[in-house]
Symmetry: C2
Amino acid sequence: MAEETNENKFKAPRGTRDFSGSEKRLRDAIIQTIREQFERYGFEPLETPAFENLAVLTAKFAGGDEILKETYSFKDQGGRDLGLRYDLTVPLCRFVAENNSLAMPFKRYAIASVWRDGPLKKGRYREFSQCDADTMGTASLAADAELASLAASILSGLGLNYSLKVNNRKLLNGLLIGAGVPREMLSDVILSLDKLEKIGENAVKKELEEKQLPAPVAQRVLSTLSPQATLEALTALAANDDAKAGLAELNEFFSYAKEYGCADKLVFSPTLARGLNYYTGMVFEGFLNNGAKIGITSSICAGGRYDELIGGFVKESGGAERNVPAVGISFGLDVLLEALKAQGTTLGERTGLAVFVIPIGDALPAIRACQQLRSAGINTGIDLAGRGVSKNLAYAVKRGAKYALIIGPNEIKEGKATLRDLNSGEEKLLSIPQVCDALR
Amino acid sequence: MAEETNENKFKAPRGTRDFSGSEKRLRDAIIQTIREQFERYGFEPLETPAFENLAVLTAKFAGGDEILKETYSFKDQGGRDLGLRYDLTVPLCRFVAENNSLAMPFKRYAIASVWRDGPLKKGRYREFSQCDADTMGTASLAADAELASLAASILSGLGLNYSLKVNNRKLLNGLLIGAGVPREMLSDVILSLDKLEKIGENAVKKELEEKQLPAPVAQRVLSTLSPQATLEALTALAANDDAKAGLAELNEFFSYAKEYGCADKLVFSPTLARGLNYYTGMVFEGFLNNGAKIGITSSICAGGRYDELIGGFVKESGGAERNVPAVGISFGLDVLLEALKAQGTTLGERTGLAVFVIPIGDALPAIRACQQLRSAGINTGIDLAGRGVSKNLAYAVKRGAKYALIIGPNEIKEGKATLRDLNSGEEKLLSIPQVCDALR
């Protein structure tokens, strides 16, 4: 604890980060790509406050005890109990509960920070960003398939090499029931199965036995469900209503995905479950195909259908009983940033400094040129410190500019400027309109 | 207080707002315009955490006692005292104090929420957004003029009819000292003068007398400084060093502004002071020229030079003594939004839904068309509820779509689709590539 309390108070708080320069530009460019596709797919932006009344965050249908331990809470001067949001789903539920005249289906996206006062480890922070798109008010598989297509558009748009694993909770439940798992143990067994690829069959078997699943049942579960089981093989085993409903959903989902042109990115993954209990139907999770090579094996996006959550929230908030089926997907900004950095992306460079204008002597012609460049849409810096050319060149390089534009007495006499490529050192004497053409 | 505590806990907290639909799209479009110009002018994005160590927010050179009363504060599980930021300037000071190898001048922008637990009135909220650009590490007037040009680019880009009032604190101080105001009363007198246009000469005179300024001095102050005094007239009165320095700054500033092409937007305003004590040189404040007509008389942007603040912060934080002169400007998102709404802007519409696809019968050809439209960059929705045509048309209108695209058996037979203008009701039978051309 000493280490925690003696830290420098004039630093960013523990578990938080400052983002600046090229890293921030890359973050913003990723967000811009995601936002554009969210809008392309007809999702409406929704911005909710950073904090909620604590009663919202602690509601029965909200995040639950585990996450409440990690919730930053405080009182305002009016004595109200407030808490920083720990996700974007609970504020969405509150918004839907509060606004009962929304045009349904209601499709909203949100890209914003959330806060969790949890233990720190590599890649885990107390402030981080979520990029969520959710469709509320329809149980149709068309909405689930639209989200898979959305994910494909975003991940392809970012230039990533990825697959989207998909599964269905009803199929999973049905197959487990068929193998003899009691209904009340389904969640527990699913949590263990979700680890099959990570810890292997023997470890999962041990876990299932520790959870008091009879050994023959555990054996049947593991012989039915392997990550490699095909949809065809499982179709033959789907005997009960749950399993049949799940299969029908998967087939309808795949038929839509084919029309959306994203079927080749989908991989049926019969043991995929997603950790959370609230999923009720389709679940999906995106992974990098080259993830192991670049050290990123965690999912890059994930989501699924949760048909009970919002309706429960509406009821608990004292609203009229409303059935609000929903399906959503969330993109991890931090992991996408790491993946793009690992593959040397140029995303975000466009918003950086393109050229830095350096006057020799009279500053006014340089300011005039700077104004012309900016009006032409070119991101332009200019000497603000009255320094000499070599110091200004060094500054331009440090700022990441690609070009310097030098304007001294000789240039002014000719009505031109010297454009210097800061990588090659090559120089050209050009008019300002020619410079604009060269840099655009 | 009863009213405050009995409110519905399942609403957004008091003093905060949800933004959705067209209002959120307009907000995002304004932010996008501001961000693009910030980048055009070579400012680097900086994102700092929502909360800071409380020691940062309470530092001597930070916001001061008044604002600390309005600071939301809390402890984390490690017992650290934290507080939500109340502005973007203190986090900037902390960042500069913490990073002593920044390339100077350091130009950063930040667009983000801040929180103040203050009294609520019209247009005043507990969560609101600031859009700040600041240049640190140079005392050159070229930086001040660049910010005036930046403001002009942003406000013109938004299509507003505005003026930028400018003044200089050194000139103001010099003229007041020349009129006999004791140095220790300068701030108090300036605060009263700042109200001249709002409350009139007599009320200001009364305030100055209440502040114990001798009547003849008050008389001289008011005959020297009126909002109508010209730069030429004041030049003749500028007898002391402060006033002369201020005049020289103003003249250099205006010569740069002329080259930037924004001089016609600038109005010299000799009584403009800006409320805050920390300004040391140029100050500026933007207003709508048609503000009175549309009920918006508050400033739409404001800023100035503050050469002492950051250096003081660096020293207080235990950093090595560094002189960090700075100049900044801040844009008010809420007031810009109100102004643009009042003049019926179309900004932000582009990111809304352009077309809504409605299948009759088989959904698959409609999904295929939807995919083609989205790939062509058109924001497209599609029926997700399996509803009939008329219900879908009503939904498309409610969602703000301009067109519906109907795809039924007849259309499929012809390899076409019916594009319906939702305003005029006019319909055309087109191929999907023709629809893309029509909507792009």
